[in-house]
Point group: C2
Chain length 485, copies 2
């Protein structure tokens, strides 16, 4: 009996010692080759994880720099449009469908899935100086990654090209206008001192005009539609904005002006497999890209210009220094980390994700509007895409919707009043108000609500009943469907 | 015997189980109230700690976005000027003493001491959109902290004032020029459409001129020294840069122009207890501040303007949007974190550190140059400082050195050729080249080397021996002293 008891003690002891060994290995074994024992970084890491763990029902998220709620503990949820309540679980029935701004939240789920690889911990003493150790204002490592991303996507030639980082394409667009128009430039054969004409093709992104007119430079003047330009004098200098794919209509525009007195600024921020087939690597003299439309980080004000000519490069670089004294090191560090994730595995993952998401949305929208005689969409022309090695259609960032009924001269108003959908007026793009731009790159919630509202609107086309309480019926149904998911 | 054995088994088992319990509590007990079990943030935290642990001999540091060395493991050391070798332990005897740029590394040790409170972990999905949830481009939390910092320092009135964030003071200075000069402005009574005159007081910070001339606006023109301006027409609009404390000479300048046709842009980036007594909270119409000279983070391109007039505020805000589409969210997040540390305990810690460091440097420099008949410094006028509640002298960011010998017309060259010290020429500030600016806000290494070289130079004033191999003797001795520390 005692023997039995003794051997059971031995067994228990052996088991307990084994558990001890296992626990010791788990607890202290990390330093020896496993996990690093965190010290000063732990607090920041914990803060970030606490905030990320705030429950927002999948319709919002909390941010580190969000407003702290009354309980004083942590920032509260910031809900997607049409959702409210402290945990974003409440659907706001009469809300506006926001299809206006170009916030690229469609990529947010990608980064949530790649949380570990895309996080950065910034130390309090990180890069306090104005310049990097090579005296430059641009991280060499970031520049290397930008070239790599273009190699991977096959969307631009960067070999033998200069690269300048700016505070988003917005910053670089003005830098390029200044660089190409400044009277000291030898890009133009003309000795004329009259201001260079800045021209566009309608429809065009409004910022080109706003910005060019805002700066009121003696060196350049916004002249609008290039096809209306009087070139009889022969020495007029022309700087042309070429947006390819175009914002708003997704067209792969090409320069209309050639020759020694003209220069083009190619805005290529949408020239990624997310949005368009990539028929060939772009090889224009001055091309502008941005992290906003590549990784979805519009808030990280960072873009880059790829430039052929050294003198133009020097002037664009000078602009970024004179206007901003370089680009925030914090943004450069973040861009570096994000691009590292993008180039992993040849870019397959993010471009697949971006394309699939955007193509799905586009097809759903096409299907909806194909039932309509009242609304039409831009054409969908498939091309061979060198990235996916197949013929594919576009998956554009924006829908360029036209109201076809004669009486619907204000398409923005039609969508707003009849569907509670807020797009961006055609006239903002220099086009007729018969057109309206709808953003497709926003959050899934925004897209779902937009599509739902458009479905409702289209389904009423043959309906002769008076149009009351559209939203009340539809949004309740919508909410039910959402909660069933 | 068996009994004895049995009880010793029981004892061992009890001990083992107790150890088990202790280990289990250590390993899994964190969630219950101790440490949070880190998941997705751990990798970023480890990366940051690994990089921070790279040994650089106290004369350099490694950065997360530094170039990766051949071993492919982690970024290498970036050494302070005059130090080299893979661990920065090597003193470079013939190196140049860099007293040119205004990199505010003097605050780096403060942030290394506050590693835990100042670190941030940025999630991959942090603030991807263009605007905050209130549709603004400026973090409310950051704005709140900016007001608090001014309250704490007592250096500016912010109650009832508007605040705009920009990409450093560089960005905001041009925004203010544009805002105050634009022809749509009603800040001027004049209906004249001639460009506003931008004026300065000599010596002045060169960027005002570079930037104003660079943009070549029809609305404003750089006219240099305000005292030379011909105001006979009576309707001339004047915009005056007032830098207080002044860069380069530390003077608390005041506006020279008054009345309905003039406006002042107060550049107050050095108006912090680090550099100057704070006699009273500044209360100017347009004031510009920056994180660079407050926390030392020049690389985080972030500054702010404090503005009285709403229309001017709206135009300055518009400028930041049209030129850059707002300020990087990453930089705003970082600034928020840093300002949180600044305001802790009423700002005592950082301002004490900043003042003590800068005052020590200034006194050492004064002592050295007090032995010289060849070089003189700007005056040192004590004032009552409301922050420290005592009368105190300045502790300026820059020394404004004058060469007193008639033949020393090029003071920059004198210091360069005779002491291997590189300052910034007086003519860069619109002054005579008999002056040179020496930066005192750089790293402790930079200051030590500068002081040492100046000591050597001054000690030779009475020395009639030929001036050969100055640096060879001195730097060896210097190196010996450094290694003894």
């Amino acid at each position: 009996m005692a023997k039995l008891q003794q051997s059971s003690y031995v067994l228990c002891l052996a088991f307990s010692v084994a558990v001890n060994l296992y626990l010791i290995l788990n607890l202290y074994g990390h330093g020896a080759g496993g996990q690093w024992e965190l010290s000063w970084s732990r607090r920041a890491a914990e803060e970030a994880e606490h905030v990320a763990a705030v429950p927002c029902s999948g319709h919002g998220r909390a941010y580190l720099d969000g407003l702290v709620l009354d309980d004083g503990k942590q920032p509260g949820c910031e809900c997607n449009s049409c959702f409210g309540g402290s945990d974003c679980s409440q659907f706001l029935t009469d809300c506006e469908s926001n299809a206006d701004g170009g916030d690229p939240y469609f990529l947010e789920p990608f980064w949530m899935e790649h949380a570990s690889e895309s996080a950065i911990l910034v130390a309090g003493w990180h890069r306090m100086g104005y310049s990097f150790s090579d005296k430059s204002y641009i991280s060499q490592e970031l520049e290397r990654l930008i070239r790599k991303v273009h190699d991977v996507a096959g969307n631009a030639v960067t070999q033998g090209r200069y690269i300048v980082i700016g505070a988003g394409s917005t910053h670089l667009i003005n830098a390029a206008v200044q660089a190409l128009s400044s009277s000291s430039t030898d890009n133009f054969n003309s000795s004329s001192s009259s201001p260079a004409s800045i021209v566009v093709t309608i429809p065009y992104y409004a910022l080109y005009e706003t910005q060019t007119e805002y700066f009121q430079s003696v060196n350049y003047k916004f002249e609008g539609d290039g096809s209306l330009l009087n070139l009889s004098s022969g020495t007029k200098r022309v700087i042309e904005f070429v947006t390819a794919p175009n914002n708003p209509d997704g067209k792969l525009n090409k320069a209309n002006f050639q020759g020694p007195n003209s220069a083009a600024i190619y805005d290529r921020v949408y020239y990624w497999p997310h949005f368009t087939p990539i028929p060939t690597p772009a090889n224009d003299d001055v091309m502008v890209f941005s992290i906003s439309k590549l990784t979805g980080h519009a808030g990280t004000r960072l873009g880059w210009a790829v430039i052929k000519d050294e003198a133009v490069y020097q002037r664009i670089l000078q602009h970024t220094l004179i206007s901003n004294l370089g680009i925030s090191r914090d943004a450069q560090l973040r861009a570096m980390k994000l691009l590292n994730v993008v180039v992993e595995g040849g870019g397959k993952e993010i471009f697949e994700f971006g394309y699939t998401t955007m193509r799905k949305r586009w097809e759903k929208l096409k299907n909806t509007l194909s039932l309509s005689n009242r609304f039409s969409l831009q054409k969908d022309e498939p091309l061979f895409c060198t990235f996916f090695q197949k013929r594919r259609g576009p998956s554009p960032a924006y829908a360029w919707v036209k109201c076809e009924r004669e009486e619907d001269v204000d398409c923005y108003k039609v969508l707003q009043e009849e569907a509670n959908v807020y797009g961006r007026r055609g006239s903002v793009f220099g086009a007729e108000d018969r057109y309206v731009r709808l953003a497709l790159i926003r959050s899934q919630d925004d897209f779902d609500i937009l599509l739902h509202r458009l479905n409702q609107l289209v389904s009423k086309e043959d309906d002769s009943q008076p149009q009351t309480s559209i939203n009340n019926v539809t949004t309740h149904e919508f909410l039910r469907r959402k909660s069933r998911k």
